[in-house]
Amino acid sequence: MQKISIDPITRLEGHGRIDIFLDEEGNVANAYLVIPELRGFEKFAEGRPVEELPRITPRICGVCPEAHHMASAKACDAVYHVEVPSTGKKLRELLYSAFYVADHTVHFYILAAPDFVLGPDAPPAERNILGLIHRVGLEIGSKVISSRGKAMDIVGMLGGKTIHPVGAIPGGVSKAINEEERAQIEAIGHELVEFGQFNLQLFHDVVLANKTYLDMILSDTFTTPMYYMGLVDENNKVNFYDGLVRVVDPEGNEFVKYAPEEYLDVIAERVEPWTYLKFPYLKKVGWKGFVTGKDSGVYQATPLSRLNAADGMATPRAQEAYEGFYETMGGKPVHGTLATHWARLIELLYAAERLVELATDPEITDPHVRNIPTEMPDEGVGIVEAPRGTLTHHYTTDEKGIVQKCNLIVGTTNNYAPISISVKKAAQALIKKGQVISEGILNRVEMAFRSYDPCFGCATHTLPGQMPLEVVIWDAEGNEVQRISQNL
């Protein structure tokens, strides 16, 4: 049997590799996405004071540290049974909205757009953010860099640091904002709303207007029906910071809606001996292997799944884009993996609109942003929507608030099984008997998982925007017969 390894430089807790096994006829027998790294945060959280976890757990991921910071602070609030003042909550959500704009920008322009704007078969040396800037012009490139930078400035203003911010604390946030800061944030917010609309227009003009790409988005190769998860507010609208987790089945019907402290009734995780990452699944449906559909507990937690799991967006322009999305894609739910990119841009616009709403909220400059916990600490769960999926932090402490047990279900982990399935499906469709495996085909396999924006991939794309890949094919005796590489 031949083995093909696609060796990306990728990251969740580290890196990733795809092993594709071919049968005697040269067709794909199976494909495995292997995560060869672990750091063990759940263990070394033990013994730490729980209020320090919002500063410790962000090091799980430096791409979305804000998500861990917020989920951790919310878990701490629950551990201490402390109510966060209204303005404290709003300031957390304000920081988080700014972060969402920045993060979704990084993903779309640095990771996804090169595939669409330059094309999946463009030479790897051009298919990256710098090639993209050359193609669309320096002016647009500068606009992207500057919009992301301004959103990060808000994160820094509220959180102290732009990467690994520190402002959220059990009971609220460490610092209020004054009118001058508020006005600055509002001004940036208006620019980001405009940027959010610009992105969607670009997507319409470049991607949707091109029949090849639209067909690819709608094609069976990139279509995988499954359960969809996302956080919703009291009106079942998408929310990133707070609410209940809603799961819909592959037909779009509500399967369950749960509060953070109920997550163990809904989610279980499977261990496989060939990888360091676990596979979460819906407990009541069960683990049925690497298959999707109504009888398999595999679910996804992505921008696409959040739109599918919700009834709409809570801001007007994003709602309009949401309606247009389902109209073009032929109704709800949408199963096309590549439509995730479009969903991400709709979320980006929502985040920008929400940012302006919060920045213009009359109580946002209220100095009362923290309550000091007075109750005995014990146990708590905090959930936010990380850009890459629903993020759950669960802590148990002793009576002094020292962590005894910690459990984490991290954004991308939710999607480990779906990504594996998508990769296998893409490999099966694209690697066929007798067909020479060209670099462009490999990129299409990679596109299947890039759409999930897996955290074990995103940071590594930063500059060239193109992950190095290599495929080596062996014959049955283990001799190397072909070697194809890109961007090495």
Binding site: E37, G62, L130, S146, E269, P273, P464, E470, N487
Partner: protein
Amino acid sequence: MADKLKLGLYWAASCGGCEIAIVELREKILDLDAAADILFWPVALDFKYKDVEAMPDGHIDVCLFNGAIRTSENEHLAHLLRQKSKVLVAFGSCAHEGCIPGLGNLFDRKSIFECVYLETPSTDNPEGVLPQTSYQLPEGEVTIPRFYNTVKTLAQVEDVDYFVPGCPPQAPQIWAVIEAILSGQLPPKGSVVGANEKTVCDECKHNREEKRIKKFYRPHEIIPEPGRCLFDQGIICAGPATRGGCGALCPTVDMPCRGCYGPAPNVIDQGAALLSAVASVVDADTEEEAARIVGEIVDPVGTFYRFGLPASLLHRARLEVGG
């Protein structure tokens, strides 16, 4: 320019924040692109090693290596990239001193595996399956690297030329390092670059007075007076023991420093230096009172050695024999 600088960026056990720190160069990314060829190196698994091995020695001018050494793969790459790079830089707190994942050195592989794969309440693993470095699937063998008992810094496994501290390094400091590289104005080998020769306290804008501490507070237990030194108010702050260069960012939102820029200049052990700073401010009349005040500090190891346990004199908790 005929010969552009060949710059390598590699990540071992890390969070990705060091890469986003490069993105935080913002508009200067375009300047960097103009001045240097940025080479991204593949994760070397199996055959990938051969490709890097096939490069001439010293092919990379400067390799910025971030991430700690947690697995056999991380260590292998450290050796390989040392060989292939003229200048090897430990970039960011993980490579420099082990960082927060270095707190794993309070435990070992066995206890970490048992926690993650057996004990966590969402894990459903009745057969007690644990990841195996080599596993025979029906279609063939799949391998993963060995997870070490101990997190090591880059300098603990390889010869390092320079150290860039920070979790993550701040963008202006990164740019200063890149400019120094481009102009060839690098200091003597072994120097810490991308920081300064002060402490975080020297950069902090809060007002300091003479500290007399009767009670230490945990950050969530007190709303500090704005503008006044947090340490003076009884909140443990790593500022006095920590190298400057970040701009004292955490205190700008009234949160104490936790020491991510590593030991202050001329300090060998950051945790010991912080402990000594703490001991010197306790306002006690008797030994019993001093013991009571200091005894209220929770998790001294995790607080004083938050970012630097693997690089510290403590290095790790004692391993059981055969562990």
